[in-house]
């Protein structure tokens, strides 16, 4: 009796489950369509964990405020801690001793100690305010017990074990003297060195035990302005300084002397390269002991010297020239110098030298191949270890200008590379992969001119034959792979095997990073297929990436153009490349001597199917790229219908221009928003590759409400200059970019930015901070033409006299957001979702259905007919809407969406510190069979039915015959 009951409940439960939208991935789908890559950023400090011989960790602190440990065998992260963005989380110093790593964070605000084995926090203390100068370990009797933190006005000493403050002392003459350096040589004293620029050095000696000032001296040094950049501590407390003007070394024993000894470099037979600031590097392998008496002196970009201080005399141990990089490394009681010197244009070698003698160690050569597509080597981190025969072995981690880390071992094998510039992706595009060779062969027939019937037939036959051959090979491979266990089937992706898949789900992601390095990444696996480093990129460059020619025009290679603009001068350069192979195109970009104000891609194509890029310079002259005769002719014909707009946010001016036939321009409209009241924050147009499938919405009474689909519409966001919470507001202006007509003007009072906007189809969604209610709110504006269409065949901005109807509604959102984008599909049939990057690292896929200004407050029969959700002021975050389940994406800055060949599927890439790629199905996978689709069942049913009809037909015939006989 209970069994049917249970069945009934199970059934009803199933029905309920089916009714609920189940968007989440199943457990076995994890990692099937998505991948994530985690980065740390450009490395600022790196230390190898050396307290265990077998340790395989390198700890990194980066400019992105990340502290992480990387596995030296694989290059993967052991653990990672992401601190606050901006100066608050800035890592000022990293000290490493044994198992502890001590970090000074946020300009000396916080002192933290981490256990590097597991990445757990040992302790954290908040320091007194004051700008941070230096930090150092303080040791006594061969053990390190304390950490000294030097601030602008005070010196404090903390226990390494628990972070408690041992003592804090104010520095004498803190207002005038600039204290910059703290030093301890394991003698029970802490030395603080400060400088009064161009006057003297102040040396204060503190007792480690109670912080009492033991001694205070000031030494004449009128040539010195900065200790940190020009001095180093060598041997038993001897300060060695470099004076660039007189090109001499100065020496001072901080324990005893009160006078500096000058040693001119000429007397040592050394010469400094002109316009180069010599650098001193010393080594203190153990903070509880004195530094080595050997030190490195860099005299020119490719000249290093190993010097030794011997009884007050400086001895040259070895001269390294040419040498690109040199650094100290210690293992056990042996200290070595690793020197990297160039061999030829594409290769370098690293050698080890004994620090004590300067003798080259045998069998320590490591060859480094310099990739022409990466930057120059910048820093060398050396991991040394003792081999069984007590000789020194080593591996190196090389940091290059393009923020790449590569880990190498002898004799020159690259163990791993990390492309840390990918932690700062600025812009990206997804490009379709090319057809395979055979497919292209087939396509090629159509492009070429016909040369006789016979040869065409032969060509067709031969290409069909090639296709057949390829198909057989494919079948054979399938059969061969099927016999192997699943894990062994390798899915190697290389640039040669790349080809478009059936549904165009695999694409090439072209990513542009802030450091100026370009990447081509396979969207299916995340493998980096090509990289290209652009040198001489200004640090404040703005990038714009455009696809000029897609892969659809076969014999012509696809072409992307990257516009690099210096934000200060406005000067612009173009980099034209093939997005599939990353190679620079042979097409020469035009030289642009004038600053560029605006660039726009026209749907016009030249005879080689490259879209025309128009560049408007500050004289309002237009240049075209490519600028062939054909293009110029087309431009002349089209000129009167080419309009563009310029935004000057400093003057609050939006202006529209029209192209003239001689490629000059004329001003045709102007809108000026007074900057005293509000400033233009952003201007958003629609995406050019967006399709809208349905022209209107069917209402409950079967009439149609037509959408206002103006492709030239711009959403201009302004913020008030008055930031008082009662008077601040944000404004949204909808302007037609061609006619300059203000379609709608909205002001959201008591609101503040940052405003995130998505503008698509006939709607604008924006998110802001409500200062009145202290919460994040969403607002949606939708534009409708009304019940009838003005001109249903074509849209012209010059001929739409009636203003659209505007509907708006607002909602409360329970979280702040980082970025927002809308999904995009091939034909625009699939319903839209908003993809929202949250600061928590989640990516939320919010159905646009919930942001619909027609949501009724009172439910009526008609609204129910239309499937409108009744209005609720709060948008609820449902956990199954997170598209990235537990794959947190840190610090999302942008989301990129691209359509795939399947109408149901939209490709999504979220980038920030991490990169995450996945697919979303806003209306479920209506055009795809499920993974676990039962092919056996359906085919057996089909066959059974087929045979059943056959048999019954036969039976019927027999029966008919029998009846006829009767």
């Amino acid at each position: 009796m209970t069994v049917p009951m249970a069945k009934f409940f199970l059934l009803s439960f199933k029905v309920i489950m089916l009714c609920l939208a189940v968007d989440a991935v199943f457990e076995d789908q994890v990692g099937k369509f998505d991948w994530r890559q985690q980065y740390v950023g450009n490395v600022r400090f790196a230390h190898f964990d050396a307290h265990l011989q077998s340790s395989k960790k390198v700890i990194l602190a980066t400019e992105k405020n990340v502290f992480a440990a990387v596995n030296t065998r694989t290059g993967e992260l052991f653990w990672r801690h992401v601190d606050k963005n901006g100066p608050e989380g800035n890592i000022n110093a990293l000290l490493h001793h044994g198992q502890d790593a001590v970090l000074v964070v946020g300009n000396g605000r916080i002192l933290r100690s981490w256990d590097i084995n597991v990445g757990g926090l040992n302790w954290e203390i908040v320091l007194d305010s004051g700008s941070f100068q230096a930090a150092s370990f303080v040791g006594q009797q061969d053990t390190v017990k304390n950490v000294a933190v030097l601030k602008k006005t005070a010196l404090s000493l903390h226990y390494l074990s628990n972070g408690h403050q041992k003592w804090i002392e104010n520095l004498p003459d803190g207002e005038t003297v600039d204290y910059q350096f703290v030093y301890s040589g394991g003698t029970g004293e802490v030395y603080v060195l400060g400088v009064l620029p161009h006057s003297h050095i102040a040396i204060v000696t503190y007792s480690v035990d109670d912080g009492e000032i033991i001694k205070q001296v000031s030494v004449e040094a009128p040539w010195l302005s900065n200790i940190q950049s020009s001095c180093a501590m060598v041997s038993q407390g001897i300060l060695m300084c470099m004076d660039t003007l007189s090109t001499s070394l100065y020496m001072l024993d901080v324990h005893a002397q009160t006078q500096m000894t000058q040693i001119p470099l000429e007397s040592l037979g050394l010469h400094v390269a002109p316009d180069f600031l010599p650098v001193l590097v010393s080594a203190q392998p153990n903070p509880s002991r004195r530094p080595l008496s050997e030190f490195l002196l860099q005299l020119s970009p490719d000249h290093y010297l190993l010097l030794q201080l011997n009884n007050g005399q400086i001895v040259t141990l070895r001269d390294f020239k040419p040498a690109m990089l040199a650094s100290f490394a210690t293992t056990g009681d042996k200290t070595v110098v690793a020197v990297m010197s160039p061999k030829n244009k594409t290769a370098c070698s690293v050698n080890l030298f004994s620090a004590e003698t300067g003798r080259r160690l045998l069998d320590t050569t490591l060859n480094v191949n310099i990739d022409p597509n990466s930057g120059k080597p910048e820093k060398l981190y050396v991991q040394t270890f003792l081999k069984k025969d007590d000789s020194v072995g080593y591996r190196v981690m090389l940091q290059t200008e393009d923020h790449t880390l590569s880990f190498l071992q002898q004799p020159g094998r690259v163990v791993w590379t990390r492309e840390e510039s990918l932690s700062d992706v600025v812009t990206m595009e997804m490009v379709d992969l090319p057809l395979t060779g055979t497919q292209a062969e087939l396509e090629g027939e159509f492009g070429k001119k016909a040369d006789g019937l016979m040869s065409m037939v032969l060509k067709r036959l031969s290409s069909q034959l090639i296709l057949l051959q390829a198909w057989v090979a494919h079948l054979w491979k399938l059969f061969y792979d099927a016999r192997k266990p699943h894990s062994q089937v390798k899915n190697d992706v290389s640039i040669e095997t790349l080809s478009r898949d059936e549904f165009n789900l695999q694409k090439m992601m072209v990513m542009v990073t802030a450091s100026g390095k370009l990447f081509g990444i396979d969207s299916k696996t995340g493998t980096i297929l090509w990289r290209h480093y652009l040198e001489n990129i200004p640090s404040n460059a703005a990038f714009k990436l455009m696809v000029q020619r897609t892969t659809a025009h076969f014999p012509h290679p696809p072409q992307c153009t990257l516009l690099i603009k210096d934000k200060d001068t406005g000067l612009t350069t173009l980099h034209v490349f093939n997005p599939i192979f990353g190679k620079k195109s042979h097409v020469a970009p035009p030289a642009l001597p004038q600053p560029i104000l605006q660039s726009l891609m026209l749907p016009l194509m030249d005879q080689d199917y490259a879209k025309v890029l128009l560049l408007v310079d500050d004289q309002y002259k237009v240049s075209a790229f490519p600028s062939t005769k054909n293009v110029l002719q087309q431009l002349q014909e089209m000129a009167s219908s080419i309009f563009f707009y310029l935004v000057d946010s400093i003057q609050g001016r939006l202006s529209g221009y029209r192209l003239r036939t001689d490629l000059s321009t004329e001003l045709i409209w102007e809108v000026v928003i007074p900057t005293e009241i509000q400033t233009i924050v952003s201007v958003k147009g629609k995406r050019p590759n967006e399709h809208v499938h349905s022209q209107g919405r069917v209402m409950g009474d079967r009439s149609v409400l037509y959408k206002y689909l103006n492709p030239n519409l711009l959403a201009v966001v302004t913020e008030s200059t008055d930031m008082h919470q009662e008077r601040s507001f944000i404004g949204i202006l909808l302007i037609d970019g061609v006619s300059g007509r203000i379609i709608h003007e909205v002001v959201q009072r008591k609101a503040r930015g940052p405003v995130h906007v998505v503008h698509s189809e006939n709607w604008v969604v924006y998110e802001y901070w409500s200062t009145k209610s202290r919460r994040n709110e969403f607002s949606v504006i939708e534009l409708y033409e009304g019940m009838e269409l003005y001109n249903s065949t074509v849209f012209s901005s010059l001929d739409r006299p009636h203003a659209p109807q505007v509907l708006q509604q607002s909602y409360i959102f329970p979280s702040s957001i980082s970025t927002m984008e809308a999904t995009l599909t091939e034909k625009g049939i699939t319903s839209r979702h908003l993809l929202i990057g949250l600061p928590s690292g989640g990516i939320l896929s919010l159905p646009k259905m919930f942001l619909d200004p027609r949501r009724p407050e009172i439910i009526s029969e008609q609204s129910r007919e239309e499937n409108l959700i009744p209005y609720a002021p709060e948008l609820i975050i449902r956990t199954e809407w997170f598209v990235n389940y537990n794959q947190t994406v840190s610090r999302v800055r942008g989301i990129y969406t691209a359509p795939s060949g399947l109408e149901s599927t939209c490709l999504v890439v979220a980038y920030g510190l991490d990169i995450y790629q996945t697919r979303v199905y806003p209306s479920k996978q209506f055009d795809v069979l499920k993974d676990d689709y039962d092919y056996m069942l359906i085919s057996s049913v089909l066959f059974a039915l087929f045979f059943a009809t056959m048999i019954s037909k036969r039976l019927a015939e027999v029966k008919l015959l029998n009846r006829a006989w009767r």
Binding site: L667, V671, E745, V747, E777, P801, S810, P873
Partner: protein
């Protein structure tokens, strides 16, 4: 001095919230000098237009915008005739698909704030000259202001807006402007509507409270159906074994 015949269609409420559009029908053909004779507190700014065959902006006065002082600031427009030369020129411009442009200086519509600051520059807009000709000079000019009442943009459309290529023979049709002038201030965007929602929720809960039937649990509501079903199942279960047993016996 003739008073301006002004017809104010006051608040036209839009679907979401109200837009205050003041529509002023203008009498045409009045001289600017007449308009300037009006009260001293009123302020007048020129509305200029330009249409040239070579598309170089040469702006001439088309009329004057009269801004009324006081709290309820209104705008009205008085316009000149189009002279014979202008009419011919306009038709010429239309035949080469030139532009008809208008501009106003940047001013504040609140006349009392006129003197406070002087802003440089103009706000311009355009419409195709052929549309102007084919609509017989009937246009709709909208002045857009920001929150403080300063003009930020002007827009012009003709009714009808299309250029079909029909020839306007009658010169008289191109003499008088038939202009609809309106001023659009920014709309206040609605915030999340919590009060109404809460009210509705309360009403619903009240309704539920009144109707105790609703609050009963699933079993309390349908106990008789479940019991009936259970008895039926039991009956059918108990009926089966004898049948089976009977077969065994036979």
């Amino acid at each position: 001095m003739k008073p301006l015949i002004s017809l104010k269609a006051t608040f036209i409420s839009f679907i979401v919230s109200f837009v205050c559009i003041k529509i002023a029908w203008c009498n045409n053909g009045r001289r600017v000098s007449d308009a300037q004779d009006a009260e001293f507190s009123d302020f007048s700014v020129p509305l200029e237009h330009s249409f040239e065959v070579d598309d170089v902006g040469r702006f001439r006065v088309r009329g004057a915008l009269l801004l009324k002082a006081g709290r309820e600031s209104g705008v009205s427009l008085s316009q000149n005739h189009l002279t014979q030369d202008d009419r011919i020129k306009l038709k010429d411009v239309a035949s080469v698909d030139g532009l008809y442009r208008i501009r106003v200086p940047r001013v504040s519509l609140q006349a009392d704030r006129q003197m406070e600051r002087h802003m440089e520059g103009y706000l311009t807009a355009f419409v195709r000259a052929c549309a102007m000709v084919e609509s017989h000079l009937s246009d709709v000019i909208t002045l857009h202001t920001d929150l403080s009442g300063t003009l930020i943009g002007i827009s012009i459309v003709t009714l009808p807006g299309a250029c079909t290529g029909t020839d306007v023979e009658d010169e008289v049709d191109l003499e008088l402007f038939n202009t609809t002038l309106s001023v659009m201030a920014p709309v206040n965007a609605p915030g999340p509507e919590t009060a109404l929602f809460l009210e509705r929720m309360e009403q619903e809960s009240e309704k539920k409270g009144k109707n105790p039937q609703e609050q009963k649990s699933f079993f309390a509501k349908y106990w008789y159906l479940i019991l009936g079903g259970a008895i039926f199942l039991m009956a059918s279960n108990s009926a089966q074994p004898p049948a089976g047993g009977g077969r065994e016996q036979s």
